[in-house]
Structure formats: structure tokens, C-alpha cells
Symmetry: C2
């Protein structure tokens, strides 16, 4: 990942999203947390109060990996001409002992060192399947 | 679409994204332009200078529908718990008489009347196929 001025390498930004998915699938919360800059924030779902900073983000992912069984990309990761990358995926999780799914699009922004500075997860109640 | 306070109806926001795709596939620029609020802005691709207001947006889409052969959703449209919806798709277009593709994720935000206030298109040079 670039340490120079400007934005991180586009391939490195996309790779970070793949690491995010792989780490979820390995239930490795610490590997997910390590992707984020110390002052990062996350909004999951978009429209909910953001979680800010390493402690709130760590708590979120340590709880999330316990609930998520598997994340499955729905299409190849997209980049940008700026500091962002995005991906569409399906989260498979347990809901009261039964499998359910959430269809999501994540947008992540990066600092020039390739660390995630924000993650916004687009999903609504209508994007849940078998979760009620 | 809701005229009341707060956000537009989540189903209406998703429906607007379907209208956007269908209108592109009908080469109907005016129908796309009509989805936007007068003071909307678009950033396509993310990292490029935004186009602002009805005139710039209209010029962008009138040119775009000439180049785009077809838009194909890559996965179902996602909503949010806020004023946004997002979709992953592939744009099929002509590049010097040959077909090429761009893999894109669009994020759109809406006013409470269900009009698009911003569109951000996530795609990078690495998301082009057969376009060079």
C-alpha cells in the first residue's frame, strides 16, 4: 500500500475489501479491525448512528463475526477514480437458530496509506430474507 | 412517493433505481433526468469533478444514453435505513465500434419527495473490460 501523497493504490483498496470478506468468513474480527484507521467511522446500516473510532469499531466487529456465518460477494468488487471502493454481497447469518440473509452494498473510503477511514453499509428492512 | 416529512418511501427509492436502469435501456434520457431534484449533483466516476444542477445533469445523460447499449443489474437493488439506495450493475457500451463493459456500483440519495439529490458511481479503470 502506498505511503506517498495522494490516494492509496486502487488495487490495494479493492484487496482490502477482499480481506474484509475473507476475515469475516474466518471469524477473524482482529483482522477486520486492523483494516481501519484509528479515527475511522462506520454506518451500518446507512441511516443509523455512526460508530466512531477504534473502540466502537472493534466492539461492532467482535459482535458481528459471532452472528455472521458467511459473506458471499454478489459481483466483483468495484473501485473508483478516488479514494473509495465498493462491493455488493450477501450476508448469511443465524436468526434464532435459523439461517437468514441480508443483501448489502458496502462503500469504503481509504486514507493514502490504504487504511479504511469510513464504511457505509446500504441495506434496508426489505433486503432481509428469512430473518423474521 | 411520499410528500410528508422525513424520508421517501424505501420501496419508492428502490423503484427509482429500476426506472433509471429501464430508462437507460430505452435510451430515454428525459425519463432519467426527471428522476433528479433541480439542485441534484452527480459524481461519475467517484473521484471526478461533480456535475451540478439540472442543466449539467441533463447534458450528461443525453450524451450517456447515446453511448450505453444496455445496463444489466448484477444483483438486486439495496435500500437503507435512511435516504439512500444502491445497486451493482454492468454497463455495456460501444468503444470504437466494439463492445466493452464497465462494472459499477451506484449510490443514490433522495429527498423526501423521492427525487434523487445525488448519484455517485463507483468504478475505476480496473473495472473496464474490453474498453481499450
Amino acid at each position: 500500500m502506498s505511503e506517498g501523497p495522494g490516494r492509496a493504490d486502487p488495487a490495494a483498496m479493492k484487496q482490502a475489501l477482499h480481506v474484509y470478506v475473507d476475515a469475516f468468513n474466518a471469524q477473524d474480527a482482529e483482522r477486520i479491525i486492523a483494516l481501519f484507521a484509528p479515527d475511522a467511522w462506520i454506518e451500518d446500516p446507512v441511516g443509523s448512528p455512526p460508530k466512531r473510532g477504534r473502540d466502537e469499531i472493534a466492539a461492532f466487529y467482535r459482535a458481528s463475526v459471532q452472528r455472521v456465518r458467511r459473506i458471499e460477494l454478489a459481483a466483483p468488487v468495484r473501485g473508483s477514480h478516488g479514494d473509495a471502493a465498493a462491493m455488493a454481497f450477501v450476508v448469511h447469518l443465524d436468526y434464532g437458530g435459523r439461517p437468514c440473509e441480508i443483501a448489502v452494498i458496502d462503500v469504503m473510503r481509504f486514507d493514502r496509506r490504504g487504511r479504511v477511514t469510513s464504511m457505509q453499509a446500504y441495506w434496508g428492512r426489505e433486503d432481509l430474507r428469512f430473518c423474521a
